[in-house]
């Protein structure tokens, strides 16, 4: 096991990064904030996948690379694997994490006083904050795959909380 830091370090850093871009730099331009957050994730994913594949043979096809993301890569980041992988065999893959750590931790962190609120405006706010946070892991996956020579688009679906599905569309 390599060096570790407390999970609060990464949680605090991500929360603050999202808040810096969404509330301070681009308060009225969420799409610009989203692009920056995704770019930061891309950079991280690209570097991590470079490090984690250093001593591996090249992947023979897209599915092998995606499996690596689901297993080894995800385990390094979250100490668990992706729970479910689906594909249409035409370049779209759906990676589902049944209990995505950054969402479960962050939704609690965001609103300790109104965590269980039923009020629609607060729930909508929470959703908006959560989806902002998801640009970062989407960027990580896109960066990691791009480092493996697979250009793609990645989006997230949280209609099934606390499960989170990442949809990877490989560019032909």
């Amino acid at each position: 096991m390599g060096r570790e830091v407390s999970e609060s370090c990464i949680d605090s850093l991500l929360t603050e990064m999202v808040s810096t871009y969404c509330n301070r730099f681009y308060a009225n331009k969420p799409e610009l904030a989203a692009r920056r957050i995704e770019a930061i994730g891309y950079q991280v994913g690209h570097q991590l996948s470079e490090r984690y594949t250093m001593e591996r043979p090249r992947f023979s096809d897209h599915l092998e690379a995606i499996k690596f993301i689901c297993k080894d890569f995800w385990s390094e980041l979250f100490k668990k694997q992706i729970d479910n992988l689906k594909t249409n065999h035409r370049g779209t893959f759906v990676l589902q994490d049944n209990r995505f750590r950054w969402l479960t931790r962050m939704s609690i962190d965001q609103s300790p006083e109104n965590g269980a609120s039923e009020e629609p405006s607060i729930m909508a706010d929470n959703k908006a904050v959560q989806s902002m946070h998801l640009y970062f892991p989407c960027g990580i996956i896109r960066g990691a795959l791009s480092n493996l020579g697979i250009p793609c688009a990645v989006s997230a679906d949280i209609s099934n909380l606390p499960a989170c599905s990442f949809v990877v569309r490989i560019k032909a």
């Binding site: 407390s6 609060s8 990464i10």
Partner: protein
């Protein structure tokens, strides 16, 4: 009920959820890089990193107090020791030492020989003037402000600038007496 005994930084670090430090280090690096691209001015990046740290510090202090069970520090000297020995250890997994006290006991240095923020980091020449770890000084300043201590925190030594350690100078500017909204005998 007797108050719980204070816990060491090692004990807390061993008991909290931990993550791969690479993820943390590379994420921080990517944020600094993005800030440099977006803000262009190195000075402005220093300021933003400090602000981000401050915002983190004012929240992290709660977790620190809750997990460490430290009782009220008698003076600033004890406060500095607790930050170095417990604070840095329980979050970053590294220990720091406190040195260079001034005669009044209001200014000292926290020295880090090991710093997970800078693993794999090399600064290009274009980043002269960047205080890469400025988020840390912000965290310390923010956390201390929440326990009524106004401080100024500055980098004295920085290994990314060729020094032999990371040295943070912490200067106590003002200690705001805590005012309770209630009287002791109520």
């Amino acid at each position: 009920m007797a108050p719980a005994a204070p816990r060491t930084g090692e004990a807390i670090f061993a008991s909290v959820e931990r993550v791969n430090a690479e993820l943390f280090t590379l994420t921080y690096g990517a944020i600094v890089r993005q800030l440099l691209t977006d803000l262009e001015e190195v000075e402005e990046v220093n300021k933003q990193l400090d602000q981000m740290g401050y915002n983190i510090g004012i929240r992290l202090i709660d977790e620190f107090l809750a997990k460490s069970n430290v009782s009220r520090c008698v003076d600033f000297k004890e406060t500095a020791e607790v930050i170095a020995k417990v604070g840095f250890k329980m979050f970053l997994g590294v220990t720091a030492s406190v040195t260079n006290w001034d005669a009044e006991g209001t200014c000292c240095s926290i020295v880090l020989e090991d710093n997970p923020l800078v693993d794999f980091v090399e600064l290009p020449d274009t980043c002269q003037g960047l205080y890469y770890c400025n988020i840390l000084s912000g965290v310390v300043r923010g956390a201390l402000e929440m326990v009524s201590m106004k401080t100024e925190v500055t980098w004295i030594r920085d290994m990314l600038r060729g020094d032999d350690a990371y040295e943070l100078q912490v200067k106590l500017l003002k200690q705001v007496p805590e005012e309770y909204p209630y009287k002791d005998d109520e």
